[in-house]
Symmetry: C2
Subunit: 340 residues, 2 copies
């Protein structure tokens, strides 16, 4: 059933039927109803390929997926996707993942924009002065950044959580509990979120005249193994930290293992706070000692990004509005006073 047939059986022109269906004003309400009715009754659905060719709109949002042999997709991606999908579903938006060589994403961005494959894109895990931002900004496709970049002379729309604030709060709590030697096990510090987190910790320490020593900061991709290694390195120093702030629950698993291996206890010898993106399959309250966390649902972020993307596509949202979500600090058993 295509437009031609439908308009034929209604004895109307394709123009009118098309307009009726798409809510244009220059059609009699009575007629519109008739059209709508017939369309529904016959299960007419406009062919997206045709519509797309005619309008240039695809009804899809895009994501350039960095791939490569040594490239791992962040496990957070799944949760973000859950949220995104949740919203997208209710709006019949599809998501196009365009795999790209991690070292040359530009080609892919250019391709999907030139081909008008998607109406908007989102960018995740941005770095300072991230080239992808500059690129999509000049390419002129609607986009939203999940996270933030830095060092641009233009504004851009983003959704981020208050990483600095969260880690500031976490560190401040620990300082208040008497900890003098704090350490930070961070994610890849080429990414902005990690920079912000470090900044938060430093600021909290500075407020009490403390500092984050060079030896008290690690920045690694977020695996259990790296959490373990970092913790070992930190805790086997001559002046080990008495508290650690950690960028991910997965790394925290490794930290806990290291603490055990060294015969230490939490929170007796070490206080631990980690950031929790809220995975359904790994919950901080189920750690051997319930883990204090800075918590922010990455899933909700996904839904919100989808929502804003849709708004930008339809022109409801304009400009470069940045949105920063506060982060909860959830205190559980893994923090305590500094050992004497």
């Amino acid at each position: 059933m295509n437009l031609k047939q439908l308009s034929h059986m209604l004895s109307l022109s394709q123009t009118t039927v098309s307009r009726a269906l798409n809510g244009y004003p220059e059609v009699n309400e009575e007629t519109r109803r008739r059209v709508m009715d017939a369309a529904k009754r016959h299960g007419y659905r406009p062919n997206p390929s045709a519509r797309r060719l005619a309008t240039g709109k695809s009804g899809m949002i895009g994501y350039v997926l960095p791939t490569g042999n040594a490239v791992d997709i962040d496990p957070h991606f799944v949760e973000f996707l859950s949220g995104l999908g949740d919203y997208a579903r209710s709006h019949e938006l599809d998501l196009v993942l365009s795999p790209a060589d991690a070292d040359d994403q530009e080609t892919t961005y250019r391709r999907i924009v030139a081909n008008r494959q998607v109406d908007a894109v989102y960018i995740s895990s941005p770095r300072p002065a991230d080239r992808r931002l500059a690129l999509v900004n000049t390419l002129g496709i609607p986009f939203i950044v999940h996270g933030r970049s830095e060092g641009f002379d233009f504004d851009y729309p983003y959704l981020d959580i208050d990483n600095e604030g969260a880690f500031h709060e976490a560190a401040r709590l620990l300082v208040q509990l008497g900890h003098k030697r704090l350490a930070l096990i961070n994610g890849d510090d080429r990414e902005t979120f990690a920079i912000h987190r470090e900044r938060g910790v430093r600021r909290a320490l500075a407020a009490s005249g403390l500092a984050l020593g060079e030896r008290h900061i690690c920045s690694l991709t977020m695996t259990e193994e790296n959490g373990y290694r970092a913790a070992r390195r930190l805790l086997e120093q001559s002046e080990p930290p008495t508290a650690i702030v950690c960028s991910s629950l997965i790394m925290a698993l490794g930290v806990v293992r290291a603490v055990r291996d060294l015969g230490l206890t939490i929170p007796g010898d070490l206080s631990l706070v980690a950031h929790d993106d809220v995975f359904p399959w790994l919950r901080p309250e189920n750690f051997p000692v319930p883990l204090s966390t800075t918590r922010s649902s990455i899933r909700l972020a996904g839904a919100r990004v989808a929502e804003r993307l849709a708004a930008r596509i339809s022109g409801l949202e304009e400009g470069a509005r940045g949105e920063v979500w506060p982060v909860d600090l959830v205190i559980r058993g893994s923090v305590g006073g500094a050992p004497v």
Copy 2:
């Protein structure tokens, strides 16, 4: 730069240029070279929307993503995606994720097929007599199942690992080590993989005159928490198992925690084997006691599925060939003789 312009500057018809570019035989090699050259020089790329409207081919593969408030996307998905993307990238294939109400995926399948949005789809986590299979089979779109279903009177193309064989081997090993009371912590037993795994364990036990008691089998979604709960339930019985085979590394985390909480040791009191899909961020050799596993890279499976999907699209692969990958049994410290 479109076909019209290109053919104009070459003083050729659109027909000829199109044919030259698409490798049709009825064009002079000399001409073809000229065309190819000009196309490359001017960076001509056929507009996919137009091509799509004309041919009905989209150059994309599809996946219907079950979503919903209470629906979690399997964390394995990311790794599978890595592999899929890896292959897809080198072939300029994009992946379309169509979010669907988890309880009504049929509508979405029908939509993407009717709209010819994708050239092929893959289906994951199939159940016995999975309706999605019957559906795509009748809809006539090329597809591949990652995993297997059961109970159909038609064959279908799939890629699966030898779950039964893997768990058979694991259980057999434990039996050989003298274990009489085995337990299985399985994934959702509505899915075929879980059924196969259970079958494997039962077969190994039966071979030695043993059985898998009703009380020695749990089947739950694969979270750390569920692993913990299952392990507690199993180990606090009057006749607790001396060995556990577990369907996922994430659940195994919970098992290990439960064992600790109960003051037991691995492998002294309990031997443990888990299935490892090979996550970069959680490795069995890094468990407190290195974990024995049945191992199969889900990432490689993703790449292979993409490869076969591409082959089916281009007509290189036909028929309903099933492909079953063997699974490695990797023995590490977490297994030992049965306690006396």
